[in-house]
């Protein structure tokens, strides 16, 4: 009689794995924080558009810039990072698995991030940190604001280290095999995040914290801004790449198709890794202290992401068309009709994809060296990122929520919730079209971003802007209704939907798909090229900035109402 080998099953396990209850709780915890953030941040957004309409004043001495700071920090940093890490953990758990030890370390990541978030949010709520989420020096917030932010970043690194370890162990157990596509993508994103957030971490730990505590008398303003934007642009790709994961590897399954090309998907992620980071100067184009030639070089590097973006767009529509034709829908556009328009898991991300067409076009304008001067710091920019992160990314995240939450809670996406989700998608689309559209136009007319209601001494221009701010108040109110609906859907899916099994959709390759070349797994080479590009783009201008530095700046806390 043979003794059954313990562990054989696990070693030979093929995709997809099953997510256990303990793991599910970990992944869900991140997403709970994300949805609490969505509600708080959304409420702040509502208050802002109401104040800017000119017919509403904040009660109890709450400041406009206080809620603006909270809106930015809670949505751009907390909601995104928590959702992404929870989602990426779920992808890793499903494709390569998680060990007990990794799960415990991941809880550490969760608590470090959550404590950091609570500290930062508290300093903003008591009005000691109205410095906006970019916290430009020499405005000085309470030191705890920076300490909290540092904890969020450090916590996210722990999550990244766990993700790398997960894939490393899987590869050791599966020699000679290519890594699962989604695990590959998660690892690329976390490498990008780690390299990029080193910049802001250095700035916060070496510059801001000692300076805000009084140990350093002055701060080098331009160095802090350069380190911030070294992080700030890859930050937006850190939001976008998880949406791309869903587009490349999950949506095809939802529409009943296959992955268009495994190798192209990987190549596009590698290109995003290369060209996300050495590009921060395009946020600093109108600054006085950076050499214009280096600004231009980084503009050129910025535009390299057009290539993986075009690859992505082609892949998406190719998948749609191939799937449609396979199902027997011919004609030039007949295949479009087959798409599951009534399935919110598809509809919400699809609207997100559409929003990326004007979103991307606006981004091209923003990054265009001299053209940037026309729109820099106008509310056009706010309109731009409400399309990209506020529509493309968030609608894709909502699209993921509809199946991921019930999958993790052992419930199902009911027809009723699906219908509510479709309504939610429409509400969001209408609200955002009005709000973002009005912001774009108002920005072209010269109106500034990040500004409370002002009549600017009654100029004709300011009167003209008022009408667009009214439109933003209407759009913003509709969006807030969309947030309430989404939070309701989330609670329903998490706690009240009928018990059952919801699919975790992961698309497979075509059976006759050409093999993915192994050179795509050359992690060391990808990291080396990424670092080389960063050194190329930043070394000379950074030395120049430091060598030609003006005297540093002392902290200023009275402009934000502290003293």
């Amino acid at each position: 009689m043979e003794i059954p080998k313990i562990g054989v099953f696990e070693e030979n396990a093929r995709l997809p794995l099953t997510i256990g209850k303990k793991e599910a709780n970990l992944y869900l915890s991140f997403i709970y924080v994300a949805f609490i953030s969505l509600f708080i941040g959304g409420l702040m957004g509502l208050l802002q558009v109401l104040v800017r309409s000119g017919s509403f004043t904040l009660p109890w001495g709450i400041g406009y810039y206080q809620i603006l700071t909270l809106h930015g920090v809670v949505l751009a940093l907390v909601l995104t990072t928590f959702f992404i890490i929870g989602f990426q953990y779920a992808l890793m758990g499903k494709t390569v698995g998680i060990s007990d030890k990794q799960r415990k370390v991941s809880w550490l990541a969760f608590w470090v991030m959550t404590v950091g978030t609570a500290i930062t949010a508290a300093t903003i709520l008591v009005g000691k940190a109205s410095v906006l989420y970019t916290f430009y020096a020499p405005l000085k917030a309470h030191p705890l604001f920076y300490i909290g932010l540092a904890l969020v970043i450090v916590g996210s690194w722990i999550a990244g280290f766990v993700n790398w370890r997960q894939l490393y162990l899987w590869k050791k157990a599966h020699p000679g095999e290519k890594s699962p596509l989604l695990a590959f993508m998660v690892n690329i994103n976390m490498i990008m995040w780690f390299i990029a957030s080193l910049g802001v971490a250095v700035s916060v730990l070496i510059q801001f914290i000692p300076w805000s505590l009084g140990y350093a008398e002055t701060i080098n303003v331009l160095v802090s801004r350069t380190l911030f934007w070294y992080f700030g642009h890859p930050l937006v790709y850190f939001w976008l790449l998880p949406a791309y994961m869903a587009w490349y590897a999950i949506i095809p399954k939802i529409i009943g198709g296959k992955v268009f090309s495994d190798s192209l998907a990987r190549l596009s992620f590698v290109l995003f890794l290369f060209f996300s980071i050495p590009v921060g100067f395009h946020h600093q184009l109108t600054e006085p202290g950076i050499d214009p030639t280096w600004k231009f070089i980084q503009v050129v590097l910025t535009f390299m992401v057009v290539i993986p973006s075009l690859m992505t767009a082609f892949s998406m529509f190719a998948t749609f068309e191939i799937t449609g034709r396979k199902k027997g829908f011919g004609g030039l556009f007949g295949w479009l009709r087959h798409l599951p328009w009534k399935d919110v898991r598809f509809l919400a991300p699809f609207v997100g994809m559409l929003a990326f067409i004007p979103g991307g076009a606006g981004g091209i304008i923003n990054a265009s060296h001299q053209m940037n001067t026309l729109v820099h710091n106008t509310i056009w920019v706010t309109g731009h990122f409400h399309l990209t992160v506020g529509t493309t990314v968030i609608l894709t995240f909502f699209g993921i929520t509809y199946w991921l939450i019930p999958h993790l809670t052992g419930r199902t996406l009911t027809k009723e919730v699906n219908r509510l989700g479709i309504i939610q998608t429409f509400v969001w689309t209408i609200g955002m079209t009005i709000m973002s559209g009005a912001m774009h136009i108002q920005g072209l007319l010269g109106a500034p971003r990040r500004s409370s209601y002002s009549e600017y001494g009654g100029t004709e221009q300011a009167v003209q802007w008022g009408a667009y701010q009214m439109a933003q108040a209407i759009g913003g109110t509709i969006l807030f209704l969309g947030i309430i609906l989404m939070v309701y859907i989330f609670i329903k899916l998490a706690f009240f939907s009928p018990k059952g099994e919801e699919e975790f959709p992961i698309a497979e390759e075509e059976e006759n798909a050409p093999p993915t070349p192994m050179w795509l797994e050359n992690w060391k080479l990808w990291v080396a090229i990424t670092i080389a590009l960063i050194l190329f783009a930043y070394t000379i201008p950074f030395i120049d900035i430091i060598q030609n530095s003006p005297p540093g700046s002392p902290p200023f806390d009275w402009p934000i109402g502290n003293s």
Partner: protein, 166 residues
Amino acid sequence: MHLHKYEKIWLISGVVALALFLIILGFGAFYLGTHPQSHGITIDPANIEAHEAFQSENLGLTKVDEDKYIVNVVATAFNYDLGVDEDGNAVKNISIPKGSSVLFQVVTPDVVHGFNIAGTNVNMMVEPGYISSMEVEMKQTGEFTLLCNEYCGVGHHMMFATVEVY
């Protein structure tokens, strides 16, 4: 790696369009001189008056030649200092004839500001330690709002003046 024929066409035309686009940007920047403002000229933010342009009597609009003007500005939270008029009142409106060429020079002794004359090409970050400057030709008549478009504190939105081109 296999690339579909249509995808090759799609990518090649995209890359060609991109190259063309970047060449146009580069031509504008390096040949026509349309770089965004970047001069890298430093100043001690604690002692801006060491520079002649920012001594109080030199602030605001100065005519230097036929159709040539200089505007020196000190941006502070939450005010644009454009000098004083004959009666000693702070100037909040400057008038410039159409078609004149104007050099704007702006510094700040405190925090970061955004010097923007809405509806014109004048848009530059003002950071402590640097002189921001930009020369423009005022081609259109009208009343333009000079405002701050980078958050500088609780009174950020109250930082404004007007520029009239006649």
